[in-house]
Symmetry: C2
């Protein structure tokens, strides 16, 4: 039984890619078999997991109906984590998919055969910072949505949008069973009063839906991508590694799996 | 003679909005008449300049051909800075504009009458974190492009994309005179080696096109938006205010105006 989780937030730079790269690594270290789908044309998740540019290997053709070829599912620097990479041309898919029939279910249909194999416990999808066609496809293909939120004021403004969108997808029939896997607070800086204010404000609106694990601002998390490694490999003893390990355990227990 | 400058970078969270809000305030303090256009459906610039939600006042209808109404140009908390606000529905404009004729020149045509009045020295456009229809319209309407880059590894990967896009717009005829106003390094943290590495790397690829002024990471810059003020009003003596004042002076001198 494969669970598909979309990691999305239209606000930019909140830690979507950092969460996908490090959560997938920590889940694999806990024995879970993970497939990561990089749905962002920036392809940051692809490089964060140690892979260079992969021309022609993105989901572009799969979104237009071609089955995903086995050679487009790549090994990463993390044993237990496979990746469907992204590339710049994926941005062009938005226009092509928008004009196709059934444009919201393209990713769900492309991933269906991979779910059916039972090869993966989790499929994690990294989304671009927008609510365009690619992210809508991810939300329609997913069983649940994980929302990283930066502990900053501008990040607060986007929350109500995501909530409304989830309701629309559920009520409108595109994805009736879409659940919220949880909200994870990122880049928390205990030295500033802003961090605490944002956490309190999010708690007020989304009580019970926020992970207890808060990811601190930690320079090791921003250094690791330049070495093409998750933080668990770059600096196993960092605060960033400890936080993502705790998040993986809490995530599994919320999924009923620990 | 009005100069139109697009502030764009498809990488999220690099300081586009923070730069538009604070640069516009500092330019106004130097006597420039500034119109800010919020082209991001997140409407962060609208709230950063002290305005709440503005239903119906975004550029949505203007992008489909309706002239911009005078009452949609609002005063902000900064004397000398006016704003055309954004709202969530602007995201829907991407699909409508994509299907319209001449879809790249919609913003340029909408702003033409405002340029012609000579009421503004600068029109600054805040863009969403993507290279979709809205940002493409901004790059086609602009005389020049200002690119904020965070001093982080992932931010580096997107630079070549922006450069290639500029060339396509110039060579393809959509905007033959599009110039690069400059690259501004943001969120520089002198305590980490990553910051220095990224600045050196950007200098290697874009020598001579980077502003000498580097914007430091400064908590006052992230606190100011929760008060709906630019940092110049929130904390006039902060490092953030000093940096954006220097940037405004350097920007004017690069424009040949100081
Ligand atoms: N907890 C953290 N501490 C320090 N730096 C972080 C942390 N999380 C993320 N970063 C850094 O902040 C930047 C933004 O994070 P990231 O790229 O993961 O966000 P994103 O939401 O995926 O961005 P985009 O919207 O562009 O896809 C990156 O340079 C990343 O390395
Ligand atoms: N120099 C700085 N020091 C500290 N915080 C900053 C600085 N510049 C921006 N920030 C904060 O970092 C976050 C991202 O900045 P901002 O929202 O301006 O980026 P953006 O590129 O406009 O994001 P988006 O891609 O979502 O439009 C905001 O919360 C902002 O307050
Ligand atoms: Mg990302
Ligand atoms: Mg912004």
């Amino acid at each position: 039984y494969t669970r598909v989780v979309a990691i999305a937030n239209q606000k930019g730079g909140v830690g979507k890619t950092t969460t996908v790269v490090n959560l997938s690594a920590c889940l694999a270290d806990l024995g879970q078999r993970v497939l990561v789908v990089d749905l962002d044309p920036q392809a940051n998740t692809t490089s964060g997991l140690g892979l260079g540019r992969q021309p022609g290997k993105s989901l572009y053709r799969a979104l237009l109906g071609e089955p995903i070829a086995a050679e487009n599912i790549l090994d990463t620097v993390v044993p237990g984590v496979s990746l469907i990479p992204s590339e710049l041309d994926l941005a062009g898919a938005e226009i092509d998919v928008a004009r196709a029939d059934n444009y919201l279910h393209r990713l769900r249909d492309a991933l269906a055969p991979l779910r059916a194999t039972g090869d993966y416990d989790f499929i994690l999808i990294d989304c671009p910072p927008s609510l365009g066609i690619l992210t809508m496809n991810a939300l329609t293909a997913a069983d649940s949505l994980l929302v990283p939120i930066q502990c900053e004021y501008y990040a607060l403004e986007g929350l109500s949008v995501i909530h409304r969108l989830m309701q629309q997808l559920r009520d409108g029939g595109a994805n009736p069973n879409l659940a919220l896997a949880g909200i994870v607070m990122t880049m928390y800086d205990a030295r500033t009063k802003l961090g605490g204010e944002v956490v309190r404000e999010v708690n007020r609106h989304f009580a019970g839906q926020i992970f207890d694990t808060v990811i601190p601002r930690n320079v090791r998390l921003s250094e690791a991508p330049s070495y093409g490694k998750p933080v668990t490999q770059y600096d196993p003893h960092s605060a960033g590694t400890a936080a993502y390990r705790r998040l993986a355990e809490e995530f599994l227990s919320k999924q009923g799996l620990s």
